[in-house]
């Protein structure tokens, strides 16, 4: 599954996820994987490819289309000492099984006062841009991050994807791992080249709860996660041509949220634009802006802005969907409207 170089080996996010799971399964026999089409098919989005061949059907379990059953089974197994990794194929499907996620997985540690731990990872795909329609293109970051008891992460590149997955599998609390389809490196979904980066071969962790400053700047802070990061980086490139220096923050983790990194950046730049592919209202973009504003408004040189998905279901037609999605031009325009 892995090639030979150590630090000069580019992986897609899909391969980075699979490699992380593979390595952890090799050293920890309690780790196993459940989900729809994660066996023979290797996951619709490629992130469990090769695992069935190495670990067999007991540890790599294709499930019936019964998300409530297998996600809540993962909770039961986790409480019994196993460390399941389960896949909800599309985040959009959370509605059929959210009770098992938010009311059970996320709360049993609390309800037991720490008497049980729930070491499990729920991985799920997010995002649109390829005309999959309104029940297969949502991000729903806010829907997961709003509810207490689960950590929520989303990588923007393969390095983080591998390290976050390893960290998630080693965490004794439930972690929701949201991977954006457009970053998976599966050609059939389109591919954001910037997500396929050098990825160490041996295992390592990326800290859950720590944001990353991917690009330093002085005029404006662009905050995003997953695909939003790439839109922000491209916008920063465009802005640089106009001599505007943008700082780009990759949130990496929504829960815990690294508020300090955001606040410090905006204290420096005085301007904030949040890029979010989830629905605009009552979600991530509002939380980030509020984080800054409730801390100290005196540092702001302009009203903060958001480039988020409008509050409408996701349309199928390419032109309508692209019209709604965040993109670098919208970010640049937002900046220009600020100054």
């Amino acid at each position: 599954m892995s090639s030979n170089g150590t630090n000069e080996r580019k992986l897609t996010i899909a391969r980075a996820m699979a490699e992380s799971i593979q390595q952890e399964m090799q050293i920890n026999e309690r780790v196993f994987v459940m989900g729809e089409d994660i066996g023979e098919l290797g996951g619709v989005f490629g992130n469990t490819r090769g695992l069935l061949e190495e670990f067999g059907k007991s540890r790599i379990r294709d499930t019936p289309i019964s998300e409530t059953a297998f996600i809540s089974a993962a909770v039961g197994a986790a409480q019994d000492g196993m460390r399941p990794v389960v896949e909800l194929m599309f985040a959009d499907f959370f509605g059929v099984c959210f009770d098992a996620i938010y009311n059970l997985m996320a709360k049993n540690i609390y309800f037991s006062g720490g008497g049980v731990s729930v070491p499990m990872v729920l991985m799920t795909s997010t995002g649109g841009g390829y005309s999959d329609g309104g029940q297969h293109s949502q991000c729903l970051y806010g829907s997961f991050a709003h509810l207490p008891g689960m950590k929520v992460v989303s990588p923007s590149n393969a390095f983080d994807a591998k390290g976050l997955m390893t960290a998630a599998m080693r965490d004794d609390s439930p972690v929701v791992y949201m991977f954006h389809k457009g970053l998976q490196g599966m050609g059939w979904l389109g591919t954001e080249a910037g997500a396929t980066v050098n990825t160490p071969e041996s295992d390592y962790t990326v800290e859950i709860g720590k944001a990353k400053v991917l690009r330093e700047g002085t005029d404006v802070t662009l905050v995003g996660l997953a695909m939003g990061v790439h839109n922000a980086l491209k916008a920063a490139d465009q802005l640089a041509k106009e001599d505007v220096s943008a700082e780009v923050i990759d949130l990496v983790s929504l829960v815990p949220l690294d508020r300090e990194t955001i606040i410090n950046s905006v204290a420096k730049t005085g301007r904030l634009i949040v890029v979010d592919e989830d629905y605009q209202s009552y979600g991530v973009s509002g939380e980030i802006i509020t984080t800054v504003c409730e801390h100290d408004i005196s540092k702001l040189k302009a009203a903060p802005k958001r480039v988020a998905y409008p509050d409408v279901p996701i349309p199928f037609a390419r032109n309508m969907e692209q019209f709604c999605l965040p993109n670098p031009d919208k970010i640049v325009a937002a900046y220009q409207a600020m100054v």
């Binding site: 098919l41 619709v44 294709d62 019936p64 059929v96 037609a317």
Partner: protein, 329 residues
């Protein structure tokens, strides 16, 4: 029930129309997607679930329905939609994402709505079971005629929504028929690997409901059993469950490499393609002549061509239309 000649030819016509429609969709879908297959590209972007091989289910059931009756269909809806009589032009346009489609391109291939014939579908497995009950309840409460048919795949039967709807339908004696298209696969997971019983008709007894299983993808047998069930429902006899063995002649969606299918399986199914089989049967038992069938095929082809031309020529919706129709006008 035995189909009349008209009914047989109606079934044949709709099977052929569905097949011709999908053949051309298949071709157009690949435009812009070679050499690199990227779903986002071409005149028809997004996922594409073809139903070829499964047409007998749609026609055998829908032969007994009229425009007033309700169908809730699946993510694989074309054959069901065509058999239910949706406007083919508007469906084609919807699949192309054009303004002349049912929703002006907001829905797409998994979200075909034709209110004129009470047809709806959705992309979440088993999501149609509840709405079918609700539509049936609406008719029952209003004392209006109408039967609702909820189509679902054999994989979808393991979803909680199915169970809840079955109980509700039986409890309230609703005029609803649950039709399970057993094409043996839920994406890459076989029925055996997903379902604790070999046949889902046994699950009807869990609700005190009649259950039927039909082998061999046979439109005549489907017509028969579905006809009895729908008649019973119309007469106030309540719901039924029908599982039908059918064939998925293509991948789960276009682009599926199907590495998980046992060698030879698909080829063997293609041998049993229900459309040539039905043609042969019609000819051999003398129901109709080759000329009659040829005429039907030609008509189907031209209807399809017209729909595709309509779709191609239609305009895209305005970008800003994305922001409208969120709430009722």
């Amino acid at each position: 029930m035995t189909p009349s000649k008209d009914q047989i030819l109606w079934m044949y016509r709709n099977m052929v129309t569905s097949r011709r429609f999908e053949e051309i969709i298949e071709e157009i879908y690949m435009e812009g997607k070679t050499p690199a297959f990227n779903m986002a590209n071409g005149p028809i972007p997004g996922e594409m679930h073809l139903s070829n091989g499964q047409e007998p289910v749609a026609v055998g059931v829908c032969a007994h329905l009229n425009a007033d009756d309700i169908v809730t269909a699946t993510h694989r809806p074309h054959h069901q939609a065509i058999a239910k009589g949706v406007n083919l032009n508007k469906m084609a346009a919807e699949i192309f994402g054009k303004s002349s489609g049912f929703s002006g391109g907001r829905g797409g291939h998994m979200h075909i709505f034709d209110p004129d014939v009470n047809f709806a579908c959705s992309g979440i497995v088993a999501q149609g079971c509840g709405p079918a009950c609700g539509a049936a309840l609406s008719r029952q409460m209003q004392n209006k005629p109408g039967v609702a048919v909820s189509f679902l795949g054999e994989g979808a039967v393991n979803q909680g929504a199915f169970h809840e709807a079955m109980n509700l339908a039986a409890l309230w004696k609703l005029p609803v028929i649950f039709v399970v298209e057993d094409n043996a696969w839920g994406i890459s997971v076989s029925k055996e690997a997903s379902t604790a019983v070999p046949r889902n008709d046994v699950r009807a007894a869990a609700y005190g409901m009649p259950g039927h299983f039909i082998e061999n993808n046979d439109p005549y047998a489907i017509f028969d059993v579905a006809g009895e069930a729908i008649k019973r429902a119309r007469e106030g006899g309540g719901p039924s469950l029908i599982e039908i063995e059918t064939y998925r002649l293509a991948g789960h969606f276009m682009g599926d490499a199907e590495g998980y299918r046992p060698e030879g399986e698909k080829e063997a199914l293609i041998e049993k393609d229900p459309i040539p089989a039905m043609r042969a049967r019609i000819l051999s038992d003398g129901t109709a002549s080759a000329a009659e069938l040829d005429a039907i095929e030609t008509e189907s082809q031209s209807k399809v061509n017209e729909a595709i031309a309509f779709a191609r020529q239609s305009e895209l919706a305005a970008d800003t239309d994305a922001l409208t129709s969120v709430f009722a006008a």
